[in-house]
């Protein structure tokens, strides 16, 4: 659907204020409506851990956690993140220790080039929050939204299998509200 916009309409393209909790810190920001969450993180906030792989929701390199749930930051508008709690790869580690999932990826050498790794780790933490994967086959199926062109899948699966029991358990199954 295309349209020509009047000058008055164009003048209404204003920055919108949003307030969100980003890696534990409350942030108040002004965003243009068409800025994606991924571009906000990388271009405006200098949080470049989340990667732009395909920019179309197909590779998972941009995966972040919104209110504990994994999402693709490339297909999310920043303006629609008002009021949310957001965790990126930069916010996973504690003050003096890596997140168990980060440590497991190192232990199992679960990467080669590392470009997909922040998305893989955030996705794996989201997987742990969901509490639905127990076996290696279930992990593989529920990690299918994260591609690794180096082909480190076996080590990624082993790392996640080891770290899952070490991650905080989900509060309650989905839909029990």
């Amino acid at each position: 659907m295309s349209a020509t916009l009047s000058e008055a309409t164009q003048a209404s393209f204003v920055r919108h204020p949003i307030r969100l909790t980003l890696n534990g810190q409350v942030r108040e920001l002004q965003v243009l409506p068409w800025t994606t969450l991924l571009d906000l993180l990388r271009e405006q906030l200098d949080l470049v851990g989340s990667k732009k792989g395909c920019d179309h929701g197909q590779c998972g390199a941009c995966t972040v956690l919104r209110d504990g749930k994994r999402i693709n930051a490339c297909l999310t508008l920043a303006v629609m993140c008002d009021g949310v709690e957001l965790t990126t790869i930069e916010g996973l580690a504690g003050d003096d220790a890596l997140h168990p999932m980060q440590q497991a990826f190192i232990t199992h050498d679960a990467f080669q080039c590392g470009y997909c790794t922040p998305g893989q780790i955030c996705s794996a933490v989201g997987l742990a929050n969901e509490g639905r994967a127990r076996t290696g086959a279930q992990i593989s199926e529920l990690m299918s939204g994260n591609l690794c062109r180096c082909g480190a899948y076996n080590n990624i699966r082993d790392a996640i299998e080891e770290a899952l029991p070490l991650c905080p358990q989900p509060q309650a199954p989905e839909g029990e509200q």
Binding site: M1, A3, W34, G60, L77, M80, G145, G175
Partner: protein
């Protein structure tokens, strides 16, 4: 992505009042933003509906379930009511997209996904669905993933959703609200065949918003199965998928539902075949006869003849697994 105006109304009525021919509603955004990045859709105004009170599930007076249009695909698939009473729907949702996308995508939005025909997705080539009257390169081009049922000279695209295939088999009802008021649409009537207006995927008007999807009481929980066949083991669109649901009395079929995905512009059902199945005895011969009857009307293109053979085997397997309790591998 083109510049656009952004609004976030707090009531359903306000959202409908804001709508115009150049606006689009946005919820999960998983398909709409992708289309905007490809410059295939250029709305002047996005109306964010995620603040509307449409995110709950409730039981209906007739014993069914009303699903709010904003319930995410993941929450729906893993809701205890759906897992227990409508496992066919749960399986179909989990067979689609990725965990990230299922967390984002809404129930209503899933119905409005556009085709993944590669010619539709390439703004440099003609496409009757994208630009009416420009032509269809798929009909005589690379049409391996395209329709074998219900296509027209103008369009051979398929509908990409898995969830919708299960909703078709379950005979869900779509609730919509527009300037003209509220109305309900039977699932079988919601999506269109392309005909001579392939730019229209469904019956929804510009000012209409899907508010809920209603599931009837019958969930076929004892005997249903969703089978999806695709080019890789996970996270790919269906070449062929089958939603099979049976009501059995011992070995005798009392009622059968059969919907196919990946083969037409909408989830494909053949009522004559479903009617024939009722009264038959469960057997491989029965299911093969049903598959053959359904597929005798198939019209494959140059590169998708394999879908006919694939669908035949998939129908027999899905019906067999449904008869065995949906657990067979």
């Amino acid at each position: 992505m083109n510049p656009f105006q952004y609004s976030k109304p707090e009531t359903v009525q306000a959202a409908i009042d804001l709508s115009s021919p150049v606006s689009r509603f946005i919820a999960g955004g998983t398909n709409l933003l992708d289309l905007m990045k490809e410059n295939l859709t250029r709305p002047a105004h996005l109306i964010d509906i995620t603040g509307l009170p449409l995110a709950d599930l409730s039981e209906t007076p007739s014993g069914g379930v009303m699903i709010g249009a904003l319930v995410s695909n993941a929450d729906l698939a893993w809701h205890p009511w759906i897992e227990r009473r409508y496992p066919l729907l749960s399986q179909a949702i989990l067979a689609g997209a990725s965990p990230q996308l299922r967390n984002m995508a809404s129930t209503g939005g899933n119905l409005l996904q556009r085709t993944r025909c590669y010619y539709f997705y390439d703004a440099n080539v003609p496409c009757n669905k994208r630009q009416p009257g420009s032509g269809c390169p798929a009909r005589s081009g690379l049409n391996r993933i395209h329709a074998i049922f219900g296509a027209s000279d103008q369009c051979v695209a398929t509908h990409p959703s898995d969830m919708c295939v299960a909703l078709a088999a379950l005979e869900a009802v779509v609730h919509v609200l527009g300037r003209g008021g509220a109305r309900t649409i039977e699932f079988a009537d919601f999506h269109r065949l392309p005909g001579d207006a392939p730019e229209r995927d469904n019956q929804l008007a510009d000012d209409e918003l899907i508010t809920a999807i209603e599931l009837p009481a019958a969930g076929f929980a004892e005997h249903s199965h969703y089978l999806k066949v695709r080019d890789r083991a996970s996270y790919a669109f269906a070449l062929v998928s089958v939603a099979a649901a049976l009501e059995l009395d011992g070995p005798v079929i009392r009622q059968a539902r059969l919907a196919l995905g990946g083969v037409a512009h909408k989830p494909w059902r053949d009522r004559a075949v479903e009617s024939w199945l009722s009264g038959q005895t469960v057997s491989r011969e029965t299911f093969t006869a049903a598959a053959d009857a359904l597929l005798q009307n198939a019209e494959p293109l140059e590169h998708n003849g394999f879908k006919v053979r694939l669908a035949r085997r998939a129908i027999v397997r899905a019906l067999s697994d449904a008869a065995l309790g949906g657990q067979a591998k």
